[in-house]
C-alpha cells in the first residue's frame, strides 16, 4: 500500500470510528501541479485525499477558523514538520487544545519523496532539534545574505520597490496560522496606527507590523510568500526575524508546545549592545 492509500485509510478510519469530526488534507487541484485543501467529513470523502510532493501548504491555518473547534470535538489534519511547528506555537499561545488535534504527519524528502511521520498527537513529535537546525531553502538564504550585504539605502530601495507593489489584499495574513486575531491591528481605526491605504508608506507600515507581530512566532512555512499575489519576498523578513530571536535570545519558535512568547518574557542578561 502506498503512502497516499495508507493515509487515506487512516483518515477514513478516524472518521468512521468517530474519533474526529473532520479531516483536513489535500485534494486534486485545478491543474495537474496544484493541490487544494480538502475537507473530509465522511470515510468516502477521505478517499479523495491526495498526498504527494505537491502538498506543500500549511493546513494548520484552518484550525484557527472561528468556531471550528468550539464544540470540543477533534479534527485531524495533514501536516509537514512546519505545520507541526505551527501547532506547537498555536498551543503555546492557547489557540488550540492539544487533545483536539490529530496529526497526520508527513515529510517531503528532497522535494520528491513522501515519508510518513510517526505519531498522532502533538506530544508524539519532538521536532525541536530538527527545526533548530533547519535552514531555509538556499535561494532564500542567498537572497537574505545579499540584502544584508547591501547598504541601508540600497536595502530601503529594495523593500520600497517590493512594498510599493503591495495591494493590501492581506493574503499573507489570511493564510498565516499565526494571524488568528479576530481583529487585526490594521483594522483598528481609533487610532489608525497602520494606514489602510495601499500607498508605499502604508504598505511599509503594514509589512513592518506584520513582520514584527510574527517575530518569534513564525513557523517558516512560507505560506505568506506563496500567497502574495504581487510576489513580495515576505519570507525573507520572516526569516530575518526568526534568526534574530535565535541569535539574541536563543529562542526557536515552535520547538515545543509550552514556550513562553519570546516578546512577553526576558532574561536579565539579554543582549543590549545597541543601547547607549
Amino acid at each position: 500500500m502506498g503512502i497516499q492509500e495508507q493515509y487515506r485509510s487512516e483518515a477514513a478510519a478516524l472518521l468512521s470510528s468517530g474519533e474526529v469530526k473532520l479531516v483536513i488534507g489535500f485534494g486534486a487541484g485545478s491543474t495537474a501541479d496544484r493541490r487544494r485543501p480538502l475537507f473530509a467529513r465522511t470515510p468516502d470523502e477521505a478517499q479523495k485525499f491526495v498526498l504527494d510532493a505537491a502538498c506543500i501548504a500549511n493546513l494548520s491555518t484552518y484550525l484557527v477558523t472561528e468556531g471550528l473547534l468550539s464544540d470540543g470535538k477533534k479534527v485531524a489534519v495533514f501536516l509537514k514538520p512546519d505545520g507541526i511547528r505551527s501547532i506547537n506555537i498555536l498551543i503555546s499561545e492557547a489557540q488550540l487544545k492539544p487533545e483536539q488535534v490529530v496529526i497526520l504527519g508527513y515529510a517531503i524528502e528532497n522535494g520528491k519523496e513522501i515519508t510518513p511521520l510517526e505519531g498522532r498527537n502533538i506530544s508524539d513529535f519532538s521536532i525541536g532539534e530538527q527545526i533548530r537546525s533547519l535552514t531555509p531553502p538556499p535561494h532564500i538564504l542567498q537572497e537574505a545574505e545579499r540584502i544584508e550585504e547591501m547598504s541601508a539605502t540600497e536595502r530601503f530601495e529594495f523593500w520600497k520597490e517590493h512594498f510599493a507593489k503591495c495591494i493590501k489584499c492581506y493574503a499573507c495574513r489570511q493564510v498565516c496560522p499565526m494571524c488568528y486575531c479576530r481583529r487585526c491591528i490594521v483594522d483598528v481605526n481609533q487610532p489608525q496606527w497602520v494606514s489602510t491605504s495601499s500607498h508605499t508608506l502604508g504598505n511599509f507600515e503594514w509589512n513592518l507590523v506584520r513582520a514584527f507581530h510574527l517575530a518569534g512566532r513564525c513557523a517558516a512555512c512560507g505560506a505568506c510568500d506563496r500567497a502574495c499575489p504581487v510576489n513580495i519576498p515576505l519570507r525573507l523578513v520572516n526569516y530575518r526575524m526568526g534568526k534574530e530571536v535565535i541569535d539574541a535570545f536563543d529562542y526557536c519558535a515552535g520547538e515545543n508546545s509550552n514556550q513562553k512568547p519570546v516578546l512577553a518574557s526576558f532574561k536579565q542578561d539579554d543582549p543590549e549592545t545597541f543601547i547607549l
Binding site: G29, S30, T31, R34, R35, R36, P37, L38, F39, A57, T61, Y62, E161, H162, A164, K165, I167, K168, C169, Y170, A171, R173, Q174, V175, D187, Q192, S195, T196, S197, S198, H199, G202, A223, R226, A227, P229, V230, N231, P233
Partner: protein
C-alpha cells in the same frame, strides 16, 4: 488588404504617441511582478505574457486614490478636491479580457452619479488590445461568452501576424481611429495572415449558472457553505479582478492636514459589511463568497445587463488555496436540478 504595424516600428510608434502628448503603458515585468507600466521603448514591454499579473483596472480605479485634500485650522477646514492627472494615455497590448473589464465597469461608475475619477481616466485613455494567441489553464473568456479576440472595451484591435513580425491593425472606435492617425505613416498595407486564436475551452455553462443563481432558493443552499470552506478570506481574487470595483473611503492625516482617499476594498473581508453595532449581514466566508458570485453573475446582470466577469481567470490563477470563479461555476453548472 488591411493595415499592419510591424514590430520594428514600435519604437517609432511610441515616440509618435509621446509626441502627440500620450504616455504609453504596456505590459512590463518589474520587481518580480508583471503589470501595466509606462514604457519608453518596445524592449521595455513584456510580450511573452499570456496575461500580466495585474490588470489595467489599476490605472482607472487605482488601489488608492486621493479624493480630497484638507487642512484643519481653528474654526475652519479647507478642502480641495483632487483630480486625476490630466494625462492622455495609450494602453498598448491590453488583453481582450482586461479591456472588456473596463467596458463592464463603465455602467457601474456612470450609474446616475458619474464617478469623475473613473471617467476622467477613461476619457484620457486609448485601449490598444492585442488579441490572444496563447491561453493557459485558467483562461475562461469563452465561458463568459467573450473570446480571445473580443473587441469589447478596445479602441484599437491588433491581431498578431502569423510570422510574428507585427500586428494587423483595426480601429474599433473613434478614439481608436484618431490614435491610428497619429501613427499612420508607420502603418502599411498588407495581407499577411494572422496567427490562429488559441483554443479556450468553455468550462461551464454560464446560462445554467445564471439560471440557478436567479432561483431564490439557491441563496440559502448548502452549496455555498461547502464550496467556501477553504476560502481564507483574503482579497487577492477581488483585487486582481479586472471588474471588481468595491472600495472604501478613508481619511488619513495628522493634526493639521490630510487626504481623503478611495481605497480598494473587498467583499471577502469580514469587516466589509460590518455595522458599528456589531451586526454583520455577511458574517461568514461562505456568505461573502456567495455575495461575490451572486454579484457578478446575478445582481450585476440585473442592473447593467452584463455579467461582471471577463474571464481572465486571475481569481483562480492567484488564489492561495486554488479556489476561484471557474471551480465554483463549474460546480454550479453541474448541480442537480
Amino acid at each position: 488588404m488591411t493595415r499592419i504595424l510591424l514590430r520594428n516600428k514600435l519604437d517609432d510608434c511610441i515616440a509618435a504617441w509621446q509626441k502627440a502628448g500620450f504616455s504609453v503603458l504596456a505590459p512590463v515585468r518589474r520587481h518580480e511582478m508583471s503589470s501595466f507600466g509606462e514604457v519608453q521603448k518596445a524592449s521595455d514591454m513584456a510580450f511573452d505574457l499570456v496575461l500580466p499579473e495585474r490588470t489595467i483596472k489599476d490605472h482607472f480605479f487605482p488601489q488608492t486614490e486621493p479624493l480630497i485634500k484638507y487642512k484643519i485650522s481653528k474654526h475652519q477646514i479647507d478642502s480641495e478636491t483632487m483630480t486625476p492627472p490630466d494625462q492622455k494615455r495609450v494602453f498598448f497590448g491590453v488583453r481582450p479580457c482586461d479591456a472588456s473589464g473596463l467596458a463592464i465597469d463603465d455602467p457601474l461608475f456612470g450609474w446616475d452619479y458619474k464617478d469623475d475619477y473613473w471617467f476622467k481616466r477613461r476619457e484620457n485613455s486609448v485601449i490598444v488590445t492585442i488579441v490572444c494567441t496563447e491561453a493557459d489553464d485558467f483562461c475562461m473568456c469563452t465561458s463568459v461568452k467573450l473570446s480571445p479576440d473580443s473587441a469589447k472595451g478596445a479602441d484599437v484591435l491588433l491581431r498578431p501576424l502569423l510570422n510574428g513580425a507585427g500586428w494587423q491593425v483595426e480601429a474599433v472606435s473613434e478614439r481608436g481611429t484618431a490614435l491610428l492617425e497619429t501613427i499612420s505613416p508607420l502603418l502599411q498595407e498588407n495581407s499577411e495572415p494572422t496567427a490562429p486564436l488559441p483554443q479556450v475551452a468553455e468550462k461551464f455553462d454560464v446560462e445554467k449558472v445564471m439560471e440557478w443563481l436567479a432561483d431564490p432558493a439557491s441563496f440559502e443552499s448548502q452549496f455555498w457553505k461547502d464550496i467556501a470552506l477553504r476560502c481564507v478570506g483574503c482579497g487577492s481574487c477581488t483585487f486582481l479582478c479586472p471588474t471588481c470595483h468595491c472600495f472604501d473611503i478613508q481619511d488619513e492625516g495628522d493634526t493639521y492636514q490630510g487626504i481623503r482617499r478611495k481605497n480598494w476594498d473587498s467583499c471577502s473581508f469580514a469587516n466589509f459589511t460590518m455595522h458599528t453595532s456589531g451586526h454583520n449581514p455577511r458574517n461568514t466566508q461562505s456568505t461573502r463568497w456567495r455575495q461575490r458570485i451572486m454579484h457578478k453573475f446575478n445582481y450585476y446582470r440585473g442592473k447593467f445587463g452584463v455579467n461582471s466577469c471577463s474571464g481572465c481567470g486571475r481569481c483562480t490563477r492567484q488564489c492561495p488555496v486554488d479556489m476561484g470563479i471557474t471551480e465554483t461555476l463549474q460546480a454550479i453548472s453541474t448541480l442537480p436540478r
